[in-house]
C-alpha cells in the first residue's frame, strides 16, 4: 500500500516535471496519434453512481456518435473512463492520473460540487480543461472549466416571478439540504422574492441523506406559508415528498416548487406522490420536439433499457461533447489553450434547444423552463423563456447582465 503510494507520488512528480516543460508538448503528444484521448470521470460505484453512471453513459454515447460520423478532424475519440467512486479524494487521484499520465487535453466529468472542487486545483495548476455538466451554485470563475449546466439565475430568475405572479403564492418556506448548493440557491431566491414583492417565512436545512421529515413538514404546516421552495437533494427528496403527503398536504393548496427534483427522483418516489408539484430546469425529458424525442430514443437504445429516463445533467453531459468537438475544429488543434479559445461563443442545437457558451465566464446560455409533474412521472412544461438567458454565476452577490464579476480577464474579487 505505502509502496504503491510512493510509486504513485514518484510518477506524479515525474509527469509534473515533464508537463511543466510547456504547452508545446501537448501538441506533439496529440499529433503522434491517430486517436485523440479524452478523459471521462464519473462515479461508477458508490452511492452517487445511480446518477453519475447515466452521465457517463450520455458522454460515451456522444463520443460514439461523433466517432461514427468520422471523428474530430479525421481522428477518432478514445474515451479513457475513470471511476471517482463517489469520493472526492478518489476524484482527485483519478483526475491527476488522466491529466498527468494519460495527458488528455480535456476531461468530461464530475457531478457534485464536492468532486469539482476536489479536482479543480489539478486542472488549474496543469492548465487543463474540465467540462462540467451539472447545474450548480455558481460562485466560481475558473478559466479551466467549461460549465454547461444551469447556474442559479437560470433556474430561479423565471421561477420565483412565475410562482408569485402566475401561481399567486407570496409566502415562501425555503427548505434545503445542508450544504453549499441549497444555501446559495436560497440566497438568490430571497433576492428575487423580495424584488417581486413576496416574502419568505423560513429558511431551513436538513443534513444530506436525512430521511425523517416528520418535524420539518409539521413546521411547514404551521408556518403559514403558501408555497414551499425545495432545494432538497438526493434520497431525502423521496422521504420529503412522501411525508408531505402523509401529513395531508396537497400540491393544489401548498405546492412544492423544487429546483433539484428531476425525473430520477420522481420515478423513485412513485409518481402519484409528486403529481401536481413543480420543478424548474432547462431540460425535461418531456420536451416535445423531434430533436429531444429522438435523443431519448437513442439514449434508451444506447443503454439498452426501454424505460431509462433522461434529465438535465444527463443532457448537458451529452451536448457538451459536441460543443467540445466544435471548439477543437474551430481551433484546429487539440490543446487545452486552443480548446478554451475555441469554445468561446460556440453554439449547438442540443435536445433542449440552442445552447451557447459565454465567451466571458465559460458558462452556458440555457433556456429556463418550469414543469408540473403528472401522474405518469413526466413533467408537463407549462412555462418557458422565449430564448436562452445569460449565465450569471455571481448573481447572489449582485452580478447582472451588464455588470459581470467573472469575465475573460478573471474574477473581479473586489466586488465580492
Amino acid at each position: 500500500m505505502s509502496n504503491n503510494r510512493r510509486n504513485f507520488l514518484k510518477q506524479t512528480a515525474a509527469y509534473g516535471a515533464t508537463a511543466a516543460l510547456g504547452p508545446g508538448l501537448w501538441a506533439s503528444a496529440a499529433r503522434a496519434e491517430s486517436e485523440i484521448d479524452v478523459g471521462v470521470l464519473f462515479s461508477l460505484t458508490g452511492g452517487l453512481s445511480i446518477v453519475e453512471q447515466s452521465l457517463a453513459d450520455a458522454t460515451l454515447m456522444a463520443i460514439d456518435e461523433i466517432n461514427a460520423a468520422g471523428g474530430v478532424m479525421g481522428k477518432k475519440l478514445n474515451p479513457i473512463v475513470e471511476d471517482g467512486a463517489s469520493d472526492a479524494r478518489t476524484f482527485n487521484e483519478r483526475a491527476s492520473k488522466l491529466v498527468l499520465r494519460d495527458r488528455v487535453p480535456t476531461v468530461f466529468g464530475c457531478y457534485t460540487s464536492a468532486s469539482r472542487k476536489a479536482v479543480l486545483p489539478i486542472f488549474e495548476r496543469r492548465n487543463n480543461m474540465l467540462f462540467y455538466p451539472t447545474y450548480y451554485e455558481g460562485f466560481e470563475c475558473s478559466k479551466n472549466v467549461v460549465y454547461t449546466g444551469a447556474v442559479p439565475n437560470q433556474q430561479l430568475s423565471n421561477y420565483i416571478p412565475w410562482i408569485i405572479n402566475t401561481l399567486g403564492k407570496k409566502k415562501f418556506f425555503i427548505v434545503g439540504s445542508n450544504y453549499i448548493y441549497p444555501r446559495e440557491m436560497a440566497k438568490v431566491s430571497k433576492i428575487l422574492i423580495e424584488q417581486n414583492g413576496g416574502e419568505w417565512v423560513a429558511d431551513e436545512y436538513l443534513e444530506l441523506g436525512h430521511s425523517e421529515w416528520g418535524a420539518m413538514v409539521s413546521r411547514i404546516k404551521s408556518s403559514g406559508c403558501d408555497v414551499v421552495l425545495s432545494n432538497v437533494v438526493g434520497d431525502s427528496v423521496i422521504a420529503f415528498y412522501r411525508e408531505f403527503r402523509n401529513q395531508g398536504l396537497t400540491h393544489d393548496q401548498l405546492p412544492i416548487c423544487a429546483t433539484v427534483t428531476s425525473e430520477i427522483e420522481i420515478a423513485a418516489m412513485g409518481a402519484e406522490v409528486a403529481a401536481g408539484s413543480f420543478t424548474s430546469f432547462p431540460y425535461f425529458q418531456a420536451i416535445d420536439t423531434t430533436a429531444n424525442n429522438d435523443f431519448v430514443e437513442r439514449y434508451r437504445r444506447f443503454v439498452d433499457d426501454s424505460s431509462a429516463v433522461t434529465q438535465h445533467a444527463l443532457e448537458c453531459s451529452y451536448f457538451q461533447v459536441y460543443l467540445w468537438k466544435q471548439a477543437v475544429e474551430k481551433a484546429g488543434e487539440v490543446t487545452p489553450d486552443a480548446i478554451r479559445e475555441g469554445i468561446k461563443g460556440q453554439t449547438f442545437d442540443a435536445p433542449n434547444g440552442k445552447v451557447t457558451v459565454d465567451g466571458e465566464n465559460l458558462h452556458t446560455f440555457l433556456t429556463p423552463r418550469i414543469a408540473q409533474w403528472g401522474g405518469n412521472g413526466q413533467g408537463e412544461i407549462i412555462d418557458e423563456y422565449p430564448e436562452p438567458i445569460k449565465p450569471l454565476p455571481y448573481v447572489a452577490y449582485g452580478e447582472t447582465d451588464g455588470d459581470l464579476f467573472c469575465s475573460a480577464a478573471g474574477l473581479d474579487s473586489s466586488r465580492l
Binding site: I50, L206, E207, S211, E212, G214, Q247, E265, A268, G270
Partner: protein
C-alpha cells in the same frame, strides 16, 4: 401540543422497532450485529419486490419479510456468528463484513448484472414501496389530525413489543433465553441447548428487523445503504437502555424519540440530533451500563 407529542411518539416507535431486534441479539447473545441495518434493508426490499412481482400489499409483505429476514439471520448465525460466540470484537468485524456483502448482493442484483439480467426493484437505484391510499390521507378524530400510516407503525410496534415480552417472560423458551443471557455455561450445564436457542433467538431478532424494514419502506427511501444510519440509531437506544433489558429499550427509545421530536419542532432537526447525542453521552457517563442493567454472573 398533540402534534409535537405525536411526532415524538412516531420517532419513538421507529427507534423501538429497530432496537427491539437488536436488543435481543445484542442482549441475549453478546453479538454486536452490524448487519442489523442490512436485515432492515432486506425487509424493505422484500416489500418492494413482493409489491412489484407478486402484487403484495403492505399487510401481506409484513409476515413475508419477517420470514425472509429470519431465514437470512439464521444463515448468518450458522455460517459466521456461531463460530464467534464470546468474541465480541470479532463479531463486530465479521458482521460488518456480512453487512457489506448483503449490500453488494442487492446492488449487483445477486450477481445477475454480470450476465446482463436485471430484476426490477433491485440494483443500486432508489426504490419505493406503495402505501395504500387510505393510509396516506389523514383524518380528523375529536379535532385531532390523525396520520394513519404513522399510527399503523405505532400499533405494529406495540404489538411486536408485547409479543416479544410474552415470548421472553412467559414461555419456556423465554426462560431459556434469559438463562443464557445471565450465564451461558450454567445454562448449558442445566441442559439447555444453547446453540439451538441462540440460533432461534438470532433468527427472531432478525425477523423483527425485517418487519421494521417494511414499515420504514413506507415513508423512507429504499436503497442498498439505507441500513447504515438505521443501525446507529438502534445501538444508541440499546446502549442507553441497558443491554438485555426490554424495559430499558422501551424507555430509552421513548426518551430519545421525544427529545428528538420536541427539539426538532421547536428549533430544527440538526440541533435535535446534536441534543440527542449529547443526552446519550451524558447518560453513558452517568450510568456506563445503561439505564436498566442487571449484573451478569
Amino acid at each position: 401540543m398533540f402534534e409535537v407529542l405525536f411526532i415524538g411518539l412516531s420517532l419513538t416507535s421507529v427507534l423501538l422497532l429497530i432496537a427491539l431486534g437488536l436488543s435481543i441479539t445484542y442482549g441475549a447473545m453478546g453479538v454486536i450485529n452490524m448487519a442489523h441495518g442490512e436485515l432492515v434493508m432486506i425487509g424493505a426490499y422484500t416489500a418492494v419486490l413482493a409489491g412489484i412481482h407478486l402484487g403484495f400489499n403492505i399487510f401481506l409483505s409484513l409476515p413475508l419479510a419477517f420470514v425472509i429476514a429470519a431465514l437470512v439471520g439464521l444463515l448468518i448465525e450458522r455460517v459466521v456468528i456461531r463460530r464467534l460466540y464470546g468474541r465480541i470484537i470479532d463479531t463486530l468485524l465479521a458482521t460488518w463484513g456480512v453487512a457489506i456483502i448483503l449490500q453488494q448482493l442487492i446492488r449487483l442484483e445477486f450477481g445477475l448484472t454480470f450476465f446482463g439480467i436485471s430484476i426490477e426493484g433491485l440494483g443500486p437505484g432508489l426504490q419505493n414501496m406503495r402505501v395504500p391510499t387510505f393510509m396516506m390521507e389523514p383524518f380528523d378524530l375529536m379535532g385531532l389530525s390523525i396520520q394513519p400510516y404513522r399510527t399503523f407503525i405505532l400499533c405494529v410496534t406495540i404489538l411486536l413489543t408485547a409479543l416479544t415480552w410474552y415470548l421472553v417472560y412467559r414461555t419456556a423458551i423465554g426462560v431459556q433465553v434469559r438463562a443464557i443471557m445471565r450465564n451461558p455455561q450454567m445454562a448449558a450445564a442445566c441442559g439447555i441447548d444453547v446453540r439451538r436457542v441462540s440460533a432461534l433467538t438470532f433468527a427472531y431478532g432478525s425477523g423483527l428487523a425485517g418487519v421494521a424494514g417494511v414499515l420504514l419502506a413506507g415513508f423512507r427511501t429504499v436503497m442498498p445503504d439505507m441500513g447504515a444510519t438505521v443501525v446507529v440509531d438502534g445501538f444508541l437506544v440499546v446502549v442507553v437502555g441497558g443491554v438485555g433489558s426490554l424495559l430499558g429499550t422501551i424507555l430509552s427509545s421513548a426518551l430519545l424519540g421525544q427529545i428528538n421530536g420536541i427539539v426538532s419542532v421547536f428549533s430544527n432537526d440538526i440541533i435535535a440530533r446534536a441534543v440527542v447525542f449529547g443526552v446519550v453521552i451524558a447518560i453513558i457517563l452517568w450510568r456506563p451500563r445503561g439505564l436498566f442493567s442487571f449484573k451478569s454472573r
